[in-house]
Subunit: 755 residues, 2 copies
């Protein structure tokens, strides 16, 4: 009982922490430090548009999710049992709730980060970090309490049934979490990239306006996409991993620890113990200057990993029996600790390697940048091989973890290794969510005309966020691989499969078919983004063509001149500037240039004066942001249908037609090929992105050079790969496995067509 | 004995047929139909340059091969036995010989095809086809006789030893063939693409001269590359497949058929029987017009497939015992027939699917072409997904074949299914080699200034050759997959592994590692091409900058004016044209345009008159072709070192460290991921290539449009994928497997580190 209460206590602590962080963020005014009323109004307006857009997407998605939950829940009921259906529904609902909280926090935090960046980098950093923490702690608290609550509920409802059966029914919880992740990752991934590509291709290339310009109709959709894809998507993905790994460990451990509730709940405890540790680490997340942001973020991660490793040693020894038996084999509690430790360490190592391959501080990305000098083709070739190459060490680390897990605690070892890798999830999610919040803040600053010094600060936050996001992606893939192996193991246990001989015809055949599935899935999701982006491009072009005043827009107004006078600009300079009244400029930079020309060297007003005040004169036709959000929403939900159907139907159909062993082979095939492909996609995309940024930082000819044009091609190719297809592969391998686990009883009716 | 003599007879027939086809090709004069002496001289000169370049590459490669054979042969001797070493050396030597014959034939046939195209499309077609047949029949004859000869030799040398041991030693023959394929496919693949990319990037893009222009220093290297990569590479690849599949089938069958030599030699007989059938089909390879070329080629393939299916029914029933036992399981001769048939049919189906995905007559390629309209990035995205998508059906066909094979005749079934797929190899190789010969002929026609009507004809031949080459690539991958599974099976038999349980830690771990290897290998080979191309680009730029007269080159001479007069051009027009004497033009087209301008509408001379005669005036500085060939040769041999070492060392190291089961898992991991990746690479590349050609044919804006520029990027990305990395993956999966088979005895000393 002590273990159970510890879990509940820590879970509650996590939720309390989330509420606290939310309160801290909310305490900041969304317009703090914004003296000008117009700007303040604009700030609130933009933030509201993003928030509304995000909610519009969620609302629409909820309708689809509800329909899906009803249908699929019914199927689970029909072919498995009502208990599994119940925990499926609970798991799905909690995942939805977690996503909702994350999105609310993000749309609350982004504007406050932007406003705070006006006065202090450190304060902006804290706000973005705390916003991420709302998501991190909220999600982990919900996961832990949800699992415990569902377990207690089922235990009550299934009184008299064995603990083993209770745990099998609990697997539905993981299925629920993972199903929502399908919507969030695949749908969200398509949404965000359709908006991004659409905004860039028309805005930057055709209309020649800067990124995040308020005149671009897709700009709000683009910012909504960051929340939808990177906050809700990543959150649901990792929520699924935790829920599924835990369920897998519980199913496998149920036989061994049926009489010992404390030992049985050990898998939940791993995650719960991570909560106070993560909480302590957040204290060390502080920075004063731009160079320190990244190390501040990484410090919290390393710190919580180290403390976790130490604490778990004692926890494991305390909670698990010194020796125990699973499936006729003897294992030790210390063995289990080694498994958890392997997961923890592998997670860190994968993060480091991911950074080496995707940061332009290191050789691989610089090679891609250099290859851009001979054109787009060589840039693409080098970027693709960077991705392929980068899979080597992560796969070796994952493979080693699998070996350690298997060796020291059999299938149970793999499941707890997975939980070990996810042990730092609260802090991991916090710094993951940090990125999109900072990104959004930058967008809001730009759109509200907060001036360039604010943008410089948010860019610094965003850049650090990009690096931690790359590390987070590595984590997500690694944990997805281990999770899906854990589920695979639990599936075998539930199906009474005790050996899986590759020399059986059905096994080797389905292994080949399984390896093909990630490729088909990737092809579909990549094309989905293409199609959704086309819809967006059409709409944006249409708005530019039809909405009056949307194109030429910056001009000096009487009001901004007055403001400059208040600022102390000499009267004669003001009167010279008056000549510019009524002239329209495509960008604010052009307007400032024209102003400088009028003034000549006289008075030499600071950049600040001109830049800050000129934006008061912004006049633009108001694009219909809502329509763009709507189009991205509809396109993403439409385009996720086919890949979604593939993931959900394949295991059910294969299991029914060919039986459990064949299905197991399919899962392994998908897993081994999917992991490599996912890592490749993510890192190719990250590499291209940063190769472009490396050039934009002034290297190899800088912005506007031929190398830059070539690098933009690679970056655009990488967008759907790193933000849609790659992350969606995590869902593919996990969802196929948990569906197999939950539907295992159904496959006993298999036709066994391959003998 | 009847079976043995039949094999020897058909093998001899094949060699005779090759000699016959060579004689038929050689009978044509290399300058037939070339009235002008200058042109004739130029024709011979260009052909000699290509031939010399090819031989220069081969000679250099032979040095490396000899060193490799000595080293690796020594290793085989040291850790396996001298018998395996002996057959390794024989297999390697025969593969080298087959490649040599193919290259000799190709460099003899290309110039004759070009010359014949001046007078008749049908004749040119026959010459190119017969050239391919020299390769096709020569190679198959050598394979069959080589296998038989080595068997008889070993049988003699190992008198008293069991047939099983003889067959195990014979596996070295396959190893020899496959090792040479490593050089030919990987080295050749890098050579051809380095030359191609180098020639294109500098010639077409920087110097703005047309493809195959004699002023381009890399043009000869490019044409040599077609021979090196597509003739020698493909030949060695398929030679390896036949040799290896046969060895695998012999090793597995040796236990069952030890007493029945006829049944034992059945695997060799399958290939031998294909010889007379292929010979009959060649009679139907005739065409009169351009539209019929492709169907003429396909007709021969379909015909030989159908006859083969019928004949093998009787052969199988005759040669194999009605019922027999392998590894304690009963199989029937009809079951074996089904396996062979499955391979035969799967090969055809894979060919058809490959065409659907890579020909611009069908939707997938047109989608890629359409995506080019929104830029290079969308072109690349769509091309990549085309490749991923295209793996579905081929993998399903291969998987189904594997299942049928396993189901009806266990591991023996997979080996004979592979031989079934390769049953039509003589004709397959013939139409495969047809492509590069036609391609070379086009290049020679262009370089010798044979006029545009000749080029139109060779282009038609080349285009048909491209389609059949795509089909051939599908075949090569499919047979590589089956071959490597067959070898894997033989390896297990030799290592006494009777089950391969994925639930063992070492197995699942190495399975993951194995799946990663093809990606690492692909990354390396793609970058190898990039680096080799850089070397080439530097050299070509250097030559353009330093060789006088290389750049501006076309001008009208007194001689060409005289020729026009002889052709009947009016005297006054000639005198008007005289004004152009001494002016230099970048292309012949520009010169013709200038001529038309001078003439005005007067006399209205036919395009023929102007175009044919203008080329007499070609004057160009002579580039140093030889240096380019040399650079491609050196770069390719240098760049193949790393990927080559990966392929050869991985199985030996893994087998030694972790034992036979772990190695088997590694092989399967590489196989399942490698096949999908190989198909994806090949078809993405093919798709991009034909999307570009579709646009060049005047669609979506045609040549010079923005869509075309975008499509060129995809085509360049696809070049190394389809001609280097993709085909090299065949070698990876086969070579790893045959090394495992041959070194199997060595792994009994394994350290078994993973327990």
């Amino acid at each position: 009982m002590a273990v159970m209460w510890t879990i509940i206590l820590f879970g509650a602590l996590s939720l309390l922490a989330a509420v606290f962080f939310a309160w801290v963020v909310h305490r900041n005014s969304p317009t703090q430090g914004t003296a000008d009323e117009d700007q303040a109004e604009r700030l609130l307006e933009i933030a509201a548009a993003i928030s509304e857009g995000a909610m519009a997407f969620l609302t629409r998605e909820y309708v689809y999710m509800a329909a899906f939950m009803a249908l699929f829940g019914g199927l689970v009921w029909a072919v498995v049992d009502w208990q599994s259906m119940l925990s499926f529904l609970v798991g799905a609902s909690i995942s939805i709730l977690a996503g909702f909280i994350g999105m609310q926090a993000a749309t609350m935090g982004n504007v406050r980060t932007a406003a705070a960046a006006q006065s202090s980098l450190g304060r902006a950093f804290r706000i973005a970090f705390n916003t991420g923490a709302v998501m991190g702690f909220g999600l982990v608290g919900l996961a832990v309490l949800g699992l415990m609550g569902t377990y207690l509920l089922l235990d009550q409802l299934m009184a008299g049934d064995s603990r083993w059966h209770v745990m099998e029914a609990l697997a539905g919880f993981g299925l629920g979490g993972s199903s929502i992740a399908l919507f969030a990752r695949v749908g969200g991934g398509i949404f965000t990239k359709a908006a991004d590509v659409g905004a860039d291709l028309v805005g930057k290339l055709e209309e020649n306006i800067p990124e995040d310009d308020p005149r671009n109709p897709a700009v709000i959709a683009d910012n909504v996409g960051d929340n939808v894809g990177d906050i809700a998507g990543m959150g649901a993905d990792l929520f699924g991993s935790v829920a599924e790994s835990t369920c897998a460990a519980l199913v496998i451990g149920a036989v061994a620890f049926a009489a010992d509730l404390g030992a049985l709940l050990y898998p939940v405890l791993i995650t719960a113990v991570g909560i106070p540790i993560a909480l302590v680490s957040t204290v060390f997340a502080r920075t004063r200057n731009e160079q320190m942001i990244e190390s501040a973020l990484k410090r919290t991660l390393v710190l919580s990993t180290v403390i976790m490793a130490a604490v778990l040693f004692f926890v494991t020894r305390e909670v698990l029996p010194g020796e125990f038996e699973i499936g006729g084999v003897q294992y030790t509690s210390m063995g289990v600790y080694y498994c958890v430790l392997a997961g923890l360490v592998a997670g860190m190592l994968i993060g480091i390697i991911t950074e080496v391959y995707t940061s332009h501080r290191y050789l691989p990305v610089r090679e891609v940048a250099r290859a851009s000098q001979t054109g787009a083709a060589t840039n693409v070739i080098y970027g693709l091989s960077l991705g392929y190459q980068s899979s080597m060490f992560p796969v070796l680390f994952i493979a080693a973890t699998v070996f350690v897990g298997y060796h020291f605690a059999g299938m149970y070892g793999i499941a707890v290794a997975s939980l070990g890798m996810l042990g730092t999830i609260a802090i991991g999610l916090t710094i993951d969510a940090f990125g999109p919040v900072a990104d959004n803040a930058g967008g809001i600053a730009q759109m509200s005309g907060l001036g360039s010094h604010v943008r410089v600060r948010t860019d610094a936050l965003d850049s650090a966020g990009n690096t931690t996001a790359a590390i987070g992606k590595g984590f997500a893939i690694g944990s997805a691989a281990l999770t899906s192996l854990a589920l695979f193991s639990a599936f075998l246990v539930r199906s009474d499969v005790t050996s899986l001989d590759m020399l059986k015809p059905a096994v080797i055949t389905l292994l080949m078919v399984g390896a093909m599935l990630p490729f088909i899935f990737t092809a579909m999701t990549m094309k989905s983004v293409g199609k959704a982006a086309m819809d967006m491009i059409r709409e944006v072009r249409h708005q530019f063509a039809t909405i009056p005043g949307l194109r030429p827009s910056f001009e000096l107004t009487e009001r901004s001149l007055q403001a400059m006078e208040t600022d102390g600009l000499a009267r004669d300079l003001i009167s010279r500037l008056r000549r510019l009244l009524g002239r329209k400029f495509a960008t604010d930079a052009e307007l400032v240039e024209a102003m400088r020309k009028e003034i000549g060297g006289a008075g030499n007003p600071s950049d600040e004066t001109l830049l800050r005040r000129v934006n008061l004169g912004v006049k633009f036709g108001r694009p219909d942001y809502r329509r763009c959000v709507d189009i991205s929403t509809r396109a993403s939900l439409r385009e996720m249908l086919l890949p979604g159907a593939q993931v959900i139907l394949t295991p059910i159909v294969v299991g029914y037609l060919f039986g459990a062993e064949a299905l197991a082979a399919l899962l392994i095939g998908s897993l081994v090929a999917g992991v490599v492909l996912a890592i490749s996609c993510a890192n190719s995309g990250g590499g291209w992105d940063n190769a472009k940024k490396y050039i934009e930082a002034g290297n190899l000819g800088g912005k506007g050079s031929a190398a830059h044009t070539a690098a933009v091609v690679g970056d655009t190719v990488g967008d759907p790969m790193k933000d849609t297809s790659g992350p969606s592969l995590n869902i593919l391998i996990k969802l196929q496995a948990i569906i197999s686990l939950v539907f295992a009883p159904f496959f006993s009716h298999s036709l066994n067509l391959l003998g």
